[in-house]
Symmetry: C2
Subunit: 198 residues, 2 copies
């Protein structure tokens, strides 16, 4: 039985993935006991992100700058592009530090069931990037699900007439596995063994 | 490799108890993808708490109102007082909903090693509450540690001359156990079997 504000904060934290009501309560207690050391830093960090949150107009990543930190990084290989379904996949791959190029976020995967068509994804933008930016390698990093693979095949067909080396993640991915949940070792293996699209 | 602001937010979340770098990243991803549904509610909740955070001038609880929600609740038995070492213990006991009275937070425990003396805790304030507020039951809910029990004995001596029923939590608590980490079942048993201080 705490005040409304404390309960609201506990509730907001409890809805984050990985936290439950119990850990949210411990987190709130930590925050209220360490106002200067924990609560205010977290508040400022959230404010800074909230104020600047933007979708990268080049790749579709979510960041506080546009272009995002990855697209703006001159050390990244601008001719190599890794295509992913979701921002979560981009973050998972970026975390593994195995891909030295840039990314392209589709915003989903083709799905007859959910009525997701090519024009609902950023496939046209991908084609335009390839035409404009001198891309010479495209890695298709879709999930190893039926829909992910359908999407990969569709994109492979669309890119057939461009002079790019087209590869996809090796099928070391567990069947039905979602990229965002894989450990870095599996991701590393799949990326190293990537093979040309047949 | 995200922007400074995203990294700062990930770091601030990762330092909360129960979260690590990995779950903090997932939480941040969730927040940036659900700006309206998750980021803004969490930000507002944090702001509301930060603006109003206060230590209760009666019991030492931390809340967004003073007196705290517990001290201000007329349904609480104002003549029964549960004395705890820390705010965390108050929250743990309150969560169990087993104690219908109010609380008193000592702000620590007596410790020769750490140089914590009676005047460093809110023991004088406790005595004054008992003198002024018509308290007729005091439950000593110290941790089952050497220092917790030393503190309980010291308070028992200080309260000897007051006409209050003095009890302490049953020693069903595991030796060395810290109250804040116990499950509700153990807490319930210990509270129900509380016994008079010898
Ligand atoms: Zn970008
Ligand atoms: Zn209070």
């Amino acid at each position: 039985m705490a005040s409304q504000e404390i309960e609201a904060l506990t509730g907001a934290l409890a809805r984050l993935p990985g936290l439950g009501p119990r850990s949210a309560r411990r987190a709130v207690l930590h925050l209220v006991k360490k106002r200067e050391g924990a609560l205010i830093p977290l508040l400022s960090a959230l404010q800074a992100v909230e104020e600047r949150l933007a979708t990268c107009s080049i790749c579709g990543n979510v960041d506080t700058v546009d272009p995002c930190a990855i697209c703006a990084d001159p050390r990244r290989d601008a001719r190599s592009l890794c295509v992913v379904e979701e921002v979560a996949d981009l973050w998972a791959l970026d975390r593994s530090r195995l891909f030295p190029g840039r990314f392209h976020v589709l915003g989903g995967r083709l799905s007859a069931l959910e009525g997701v068509r090519p024009e609902d994804l950023t496939i046209d933008q991908l084609v335009r990037r390839i035409e404009a930016d001198g891309i010479d390698e495209v890695v298709l990093a879709m999930n190893a699900t039926l829909e992910g693979q359908t999407t990969a095949h569709y994109i492979a067909e669309r890119l057939e007439r461009y002079p790019v080396r087209l590869t996809q993640l090796a099928h070391g991915l567990p069947v039905g596995g979602e990229l965002d949940y894989l450990d870095e070792g599996t991701l590393a293996q799949a990326l190293r063994a990537r093979r040309p699209v047949a």
